[in-house]
Amino acid sequence: MTRRELWTPNRRDLLRMLGVGGAAVGASSLLAACGLGTGGGGPATDNGAAEVTGGFDWRKAEGTEISVLQTPHPYQVAFQPLLAEFTELTGITVKADLVAEADYFTRLNTELASGAGNYDAFMTGAYFIWTYGPPGWMEDLKPWLQNTSATNPDYDFEDIYEGLRRSTSWDFQVGSPLGTGGQWAIPWGFETNVLCYNKTEFDRRGIRPAETFDDLIQLATDLTDRANNKYGIAFRGSRSWATIHPGFMTQFTREGCKDYEKQGDQLQAIMNSPQAVDFTRKWVELARAGGPTSWTNYEYPDCTGDLGAGTAMMVYDADSATYPQNIAGNSAQAGNLAWHPGPAGPDGSYGTNLWTWSLAMNSASSKKLAAWLFIQWATGKDAQTKAVQTGQAGFADPTRQSVFDGAFKQTLGNFPGYQETFEKVIGSTDIKFTPQTQFFETTEEWAVALQDIYAGQDAKTRLDALAAANTTAVNRAS
């Protein structure tokens, strides 16, 4: 072979290779990052409850170490010091891995999709069950609850608020309501979406929280003084599904609107009904006239931060998110805040959407009994009572009625209207969304539609387009 026959790259070839190689490297890593493990996620395994027999004993899994994936939320912070007591009670060691909330579900998705079973139990929200459940990533806890060998006779599952129990249970069938099928998680802490306001400022002006939605718009507008950096009401507006679920979904429901209805064996999006269009138009008007200037970027820490700083006069969001702002030393307005259910609907409804941090079991876990004992302990009366009594960051709200009526009320202190608001809405508090497996895609698109309407698009036209797209998405063959 002569030298001429050998390919010798010249400088231009090298440059070209470098450029093209660089492009490939840059894109390929992310291209691969889009796929997680091998197709289909982990295989569903048999439920482990039937393997537990004999009498109930906390020490049945003594000597086991379990791994729990958690995010550093006040619930987790309140429970962390109590883990030693759990180990003492059961002989089980808990290794808790903490991931910041912003990255938490990305990490959890990856973990569950891999089917590796590295974590035996994990924190989750109820909406995530609709995605994690169908592929078989979660253990159905109903057989565990029903097995007297695995569950303490004093556990009293019915003590957990009914709306919460229903919100974490579904049969994964299109159009089926919540509360059907398996129990995929046990509620651990939760929040109702209500109004928190600056009572000191309201008292100074001699005004009261609004009782109707139209009055709320007027009140927020009147309280807005942009020249002095004050505005009426903060609520979420960022490009995320989380924009829809707190104040928006609560008031949407109270005004008599629905997201989907079942037609035959399919779901039809109806967030473009005349009532919904009218409400959405008003909600966006509320954001423009009385909301934060940069509403389309607002998430709950921005809202509660503005309330605590005295910039926002009201917040329509989770009660547990506004609660810490009233604890001395946490904000400039600590001690000045009060709570109100928010405007009732035209029929007097106080229907309220909830969020619950729950504990669930990984179906790929090899230590299911130990994981169940941990979940049972953490959601039980004794541990929750201690967390309420000792949690420095505040444990609002406990999921058990006995704990709310007992330890929580005793430790509540100077939180005007908090208890009254809670008691007014709790009976009609549950998840107001129609359960469906494409929740995150369709609900984020809903938030995008709100932003588009805020930017000036016609509400009716935009919501018609959203409903058409979401109807297709929710009925997409899986």
Partner: protein, 312 residues
């Protein structure tokens, strides 16, 4: 009497036989030489091919057994207006950021080329934005952009009335942050190029009485053009893949105003758990980056030959 020493004949060089290479080392050599190729295959080609393969499946979190669906993902995405909005946003971002950074970077490099105390100090300070991770820069700027408590509206006397991250402003604010981070990169690259230019042509022109502008246009610019192009290639390709600080600032909003292709892929894959749709986004982005890189590298080759005088 003098004596003449007989010329010394150099001792014959002892030719040392190369030590025989042990057989085990000879046997190992092909494997050692193939390590880079293996690394490329494992680290780059395998994930790339796997990601491309996913683009032809219906792989999603809720799909238990993904199946091959041919070009359906491509057909869906290419007929989705949101994808074309992402293409438009990505190209606008890449072109605008690259142009501004190049113009400013070249200008700063020319200023720094003049030796002065301020220039020397500035040269060292200039690199600071590059030391900040783009995600952190995004967080810092999002705080500064906030109309309620951000420093920008306060300093500019805008009260809380101006929204830097609104429908019409968000993309330009994101570009502003990019310019802040990466203009020093262009300036430093071009400055290094300027300092490597030969002095003779400039001295000869000065003797002939050429003006500064004439020398810049006829001598300096053609000679430093390859360096500028290298900076442009780096920045343009990087901007096509932009994600970090834009996501921190706006998450792609308001609406789809800042939803670049990378953000679209992230939202599909990680938020909505539609892995195949996300892979398709990335495959299409890869095609765009690949074709752009090929074109820009060919332009760079031409510019280098022209600067070397081997091509008119």
């Amino acid at each position: 009497m003098t004596t003449t020493a007989p010329p010394r004949t150099p001792a014959p060089a002892v030719r040392r036989e190369p030590r025989p290479v042990p057989a085990w080392r000879r046997g190992l050599r092909p494997y050692v030489l193939s390590i880079p190729a293996v690394l490329i295959i494992v680290g780059i080609l395998y994930p790339f091919v796997l990601g491309a393969y996913y683009a032809f499946l219906n792989y999603a979190a809720v799909v238990r057994r993904p199946v091959f669906i041919g070009l359906q993902n491509f057909a869906e995405i290419l007929s989705d207006p949101a994808f074309w909005t992402s293409v438009r946003v990505t190209l606008l971002y890449a072109v605008a950021a690259t142009v501004v950074e190049t113009v400013l970077g070249v200008g700063i490099a020319l200023l720094l080329n003049r030796s002065s105390l301020i220039g020397r100090i500035f040269e060292r300070v200039l690199i600071l934005p590059l030391m900040i991770a783009p995600v952190i820069a995004g967080v810092i700027w999002s705080l500064m952009f906030n109309p309620q408590y951000g420093v920008l509206n306060y300093v500019l006397g805008l009260g809380s009335t101006f929204d830097w991250l609104g429908e019409g402003t968000a993309i330009w604010s994101a570009i502003l942050v990019d310019v802040w981070i990466f203009t020093p990169f262009v300036a430093i690259l071009v400055l290094a190029g300027i300092r490597s230019l030969p002095k003779e042509p400039f001295e000869a022109s000065a003797v002939d009485g050429a003006s500064w502008f004439y020398m810049f246009r006829r001598l300096m610019l053609p000679m430093m053009w390859p360096y500028i192009l290298v900076a442009v290639i780096f920045r343009f390709m990087d901007c096509l893949k932009i994600f970090d600080h834009v996501f921190v600032l706006t998450a792609g909003g308001p609406g789809d105003a800042t939803r670049t292709l990378q953000i679209g892929a992230y939202q599909n894959s990680i938020i909505q758990l539609q892995y195949s749709q996300g892979s398709t986004y990335m495959f299409l982005l890869w095609a765009i980056v690949f074709l752009t890189a090929r074109y820009l590298v060919s332009v760079l080759g031409k510019a280098q030959r022209r600067a070397a005088g081997s091509e008119e």
